[in-house]
Amino acid sequence: MLRPTFLSALLMLALAPMAHALDIQRWHTPQGTEVLLLERHQLPIVDYVVLFKGAGSAAEPEGKSNIAAATSELLTSGTRLLDEDEFNQKISSLGANISGNSSVDFSSMAFRTLSRADTLHATADLLNQALTQPRFDENALQRIKNQASLSLQQSESYPSFIAQREISRLNYPHHPYGKGAFQTVEKIQSVQRDDIVDFHRQYYAQNKAIVAIVGDINREQANELVAQTLKGLPEKAASSQSVPPVDVHDSQRKLVPFPHSSQSTVVLSLPVLTANSPDYFALILGNYVLGGGGFDSRLMKVLRDQYGYTYGASSDMDAYTQAAPFTIEFTTAHKNRDAALKATQQVLRDFITNGASESELQQAKANITGSFPLRLDSNQKLLNNLIHLAYHNYPNDWLDTYNDKINALTAEDVKRAWQRHIQPEKLNIVIVGAEK
């Protein structure tokens, strides 16, 4: 049963015990893999993700870049039995999608396929081959390195990429979260086949795996599917590193010239929120009022509606295992750059000093709680929710109690949390597009 909206939920409280938002089934395999399943039988589709904790770019050795990404990409580039073209032919002939992905903290492999038994098992077999018998072909590796190098260079065409990279360098100069921002073509090209083999052997293990499944499949079938896909993977990871806390470097400012752009891109940022922080909900709720709430937000009202400086200004409050960046970003014509930055800083200062008004807070609560059903209306979104739950080790009722936690907050709670975590003058600032 999906949870009714806020108002009807209040009415129902007196009548019935709280319904669960999601009928999540959750268990561990004997090898230590955590599995989360949501059965959804209306469409003949199965979405499957296996995620390996610790197998992200944060684990890459110094001096080399892109190992985590290259590994996950090479896994779908041929197996011992099938060369790269044969592997791709098989996947396409099933009408399935299979892809590898990596982030700072983890790597993952995912497929979406039809739930017919023959298609599902053939897809699962390809995933198993990819995970346990990758070919790691030298030729494919070189191509992937060339693509990553060129892709890095091409990204440098975009001022917003440059701005995000610079702010990440300022925020995380010596922390694993900053590693991706220090990528270079040389570091990408220096990766050798042995690096990939080692990385795969060390981090792709069953006790570090989380599997999330949504779709037309029951628990027994899901259990078999997990066994089929992970069979032959090492049970225990060879290494187990955890991400160290962030040592915050603040109050820095950097201008990056970017000729030929008609706008300046401005980013203000600082590492702030961890996924398990007691202030999580207060910071998320406040961020809606400041810059996360689209047209409702103060940044949008001031920078776009009041001054016409920008097509969009927003703030983003991420949460990772360790402190994730809180970021404000906008672009504006060069001539308005200083004025727009000043206005942004004023909005932030006001917000932190005085907090949100009661009506702003009500609007933010109404939106966040009212939009809850929209988080659960497709298999793809459900899958993302499962991954989020498992990755941060949240309990199953985390979603059930989400709206209550938002509704319980007062303006004073929000103001206190923001004042505790953010001093406006300490945000790092990057401006891309300035001539000098």
Partner: protein
């Protein structure tokens, strides 16, 4: 062989339209078309209203009108003042936005289902009562100019598409960029927008599409209740978008914010005008076979095999009011010239034109089409967008299955014939070079 295939297709169709996919349609006496599809997977609703007006309806010197008006639709009526539309939808927990294409302006809201009556009421209100101030207009034009700088002037890909459109066609309506040219964005007047609104925003120029956890019949009644009082208008005569027969290849280059040259190759080809056309279905399959999956010809032969490109894609829009192109986009690998990559792309097309495709390759493309269709049902927004596309282009939602059937029935010979259409005379070829290369070229000339 053929018998088996047909059976397989029939099986798939049973999946494509699950029991919950009840779809109803009505046309109100004032001309408003309404389509409602039930999807009971979550207690939410997606509502989209499609106005048949876009950049193809604009005149020279007034480009960007439709898109600018889209922005102004959030700037108030006597009942729902400026900014209130978005504030109220947000307070419902709803997500809202709008977009303008060459042929349509679409407003969409996604929210918990109990908010549908209020959403429809506000949508009906701004169909007739828009009343924005000059102050809001002036500010919003600044915002739109920033939008243009951000999404076109500083964005090499969108910039390249704008260049392509400009060179592909003779008719100004077909060449116009949706967001409008910068000089026009400085020249538009509030009165132009008010006039545009009076001309085109009418129930008989709109299609309302609703997908979600609703009762289809009750929802049709609800839409009637909210929109029936709005009178129809006599719509302006449409501009003729038909292009003269294509006579010669066009090419151009530009300089932009890119590190590596990138290229866009378009072929001016037919699109679907009636369900009985044949070539468009074959072009759709050709796009799948050439470039839209990991075992496609471009991926296998050029990205992986010869390693000439970092990225390649082929795409084709089968239904539109405007002439269409078969697009191929590519970024050559470092050290590979755009000319070399273009020649290799043409060789891939020529191979299909001469030798056709194998039955196995065709079967694979069919499976991909079928699965993609089923996968696309996971998103209510996609479902609504497809229904809206059909209905606002003179097709009927009930033709959806037949359309897919016809794609699946395309033969190898028809694909071969479609590939023969991709000739140099239909070609529009755009290359975007890095700014740095322009400076180099100038430097060479100065020596």
């Amino acid at each position: 062989m053929f018998g088996r295939k047909t059976l397989f297709t029939a099986l798939l169709l049973a999946w494509v339209m699950p029991a919950w996919a009840q779809t109803l349609k009505a046309t109100l006496p004032n001309g408003l078309q309404v389509i409602v599809r039930e999807d009971h997977r979550a207690p939410v609703v997606m509502s989209q209203i499609w106005y048949r007006v876009g950049s193809v309806d604009e005149k020279v010197g007034k480009s960007g009108l439709s898109h600018a008006l889209e922005h102004m639709m959030f700037k108030g009526t006597p009942n729902v003042p400026s900014g209130e539309f978005s504030r109220r939808v947000s307070a419902m927990g709803g997500v809202l936005n709008a977009y303008t294409s060459p042929t349509e302006t679409v407003f969409h809201e996604n929210a918990a289902k109990e908010h549908l009556p209020k959403l429809l009421e506000m949508e009906a209100d701004r169909m007739v009562n828009l009343n924005f101030s000059n102050r809001d207009f002036n500010n919003e034009m600044k915002v739109i100019r920033e939008e243009r700088r951000q999404t076109v002037d500083d964005n090499p890909i969108n910039n390249m598409y704008e260049q392509m459109l400009f060179r592909a066609y003779d008719k100004p309506s077909n060449r116009t960029a949706v967001i409008g040219h910068m000089r026009d964005l400085h020249g538009l007047k509030a009165a132009d927008l008010r006039d545009w609104y009076k001309k085109w925003y009418a129930p008989n120029n709109a299609t309302m599409v609703i997908v979600g956890d609703v009762n289809a019949q009750e929802t049709l009644d609800l839409v009637k209740q909210k929109f029936a009082h709005i009178p129809a208008k006599k719509l302006p005569e449409r501009q003729n978008l038909q292009e003269k027969e294509v006579k010669k290849a066009v090419s151009a280059h530009a300089y932009g914010n890119t590190q590596q040259p990138i290229m866009l190759l378009g072929y001016r080809v037919p699109h679907l005008r009636t369900i009985n056309d044949t070539t468009p279905y074959a072009l759709d399959m050709l796009a799948t076979i050439l470039g839209s999956h990991s075992a496609s010809r471009f991926e296998t032969n050029l990205v992986r095999g010869k390693q000439l490109a970092l990225e390649m894609d082929s795409s084709y829009t089968i239904i539109s009011r405007q002439p269409q192109m078969f697009h191929i986009s590519a970024m050559p690998r470092e050290g590979v010239s755009t000319a070399q990559l273009k020649a290799e792309i043409e060789a891939q097309i020529a191979d299909i034109a001469q030798n056709g495709v194998s039955e196995a390759e065709l079967q694979q493309a069919r499976v991909i089409q079928e699965s993609s269709l089923i996968f696309s049902r996971d998103s209510m927004a996609n479902q609504a967008a497809w229904l809206g596309t059909l209905e606002s282009n003179g097709f009927d939602f009930s033709q959806e299955d037949e359309l897919y059937q016809r794609v699946l029935k395309v033969s190898a010979a028809e694909i071969q014939a479609a590939a023969k259409l991709l000739t140099p005379q239909r070609e529009v070829y755009i290359v975007m070079y890095p700014h740095a290369m322009k400076q180099k070229r100038v430097a060479v000339r100065q020596k």
